[in-house]
């Protein structure tokens, strides 16, 4: 999502993910320290959709991420309608969303890993609710 945002809206037409090679402007890059297989504490922005979804301003999540938003381009997460709505305890962006859209959320962690039968993750509950509304 961040590469698409950079290419289409921010105007960084050669934006890329370093996993695809060295050419272009790297927007998503290898983390200095892999988070794969770890739990992270996230702080969620006030008045965000994500805060409404969680009903809280903090959460603990699991992640498999080896990549993150390149710090030199962190400002793109706050441009053209995108909002950085969660950061980890190092200050790195862990979630973004758009306020001008029915439901447009990206996480740099994996909420599906903590979903259980009878206890779905709140992001998936909210997403499925949005899907039901969209279909009508």
């Amino acid at each position: 999502m961040l590469v698409e945002h950079a290419r289409t809206l921010v105007g960084i037409t050669d934006a890329t993910h370093t996993e695809y090679g060295a050419t272009g402007t790297a927007i998503v890059t290898l983390l200095a320290c892999s988070l794969d297989g770890t739990q992270i504490d996230i702080a969620i922005a006030q008045s965000s959709r994500l805060a409404s979804i969680y009903g809280a301003r903090v959460a603990v999540e699991q992640t498999t991420c080896n990549y993150g938003l390149e710090p030199a381009h962190a400002e793109i997460a706050t441009m053209h309608g995108m909002r950085a709505v969660a950061v980890d305890d190092t200050g790195e962006v862990r979630a973004v969303e758009r306020a001008d859209h029915p439901f447009f959320v990206a996480t740099l962690y994996q909420p599906q890993l903590t979903s259980e039968p009878g206890k779905p993750h709140p992001i998936f509950i909210a997403f499925v609710d949005a899907a039901a509304v969209a279909e009508k």
């Binding site: 590469v3 289409t8 993910h17 859209h101 439901f103 599906q112 779905p120 993750h121 899907a131 279909e135």
Partner: protein, 85 residues
Amino acid sequence: MPTITVLIDSPPTARYHAATVNALGHAIDERDDRDSFTIDVVHTDAISTIGDAVVIGPGTPYNDPRAAEAVITSARERGVPLVAT
């Protein structure tokens, strides 16, 4: 009858593929209209149309990153709910 497109390239046996589809199922199972939902799992190099909502699953590099970006652009411009993990 909402159709949710799950764009993911890893095989169904992969942990994150299964976790993504299962998480959708957990949320759908809590609803009275659970039987109306369809989950359509598609690889990035096979996507043609998207459903009423889209999940961009984990697992870069994608088979077709430009197709994944096109799906994101379309969902954003058309107001189709999207979650990317």
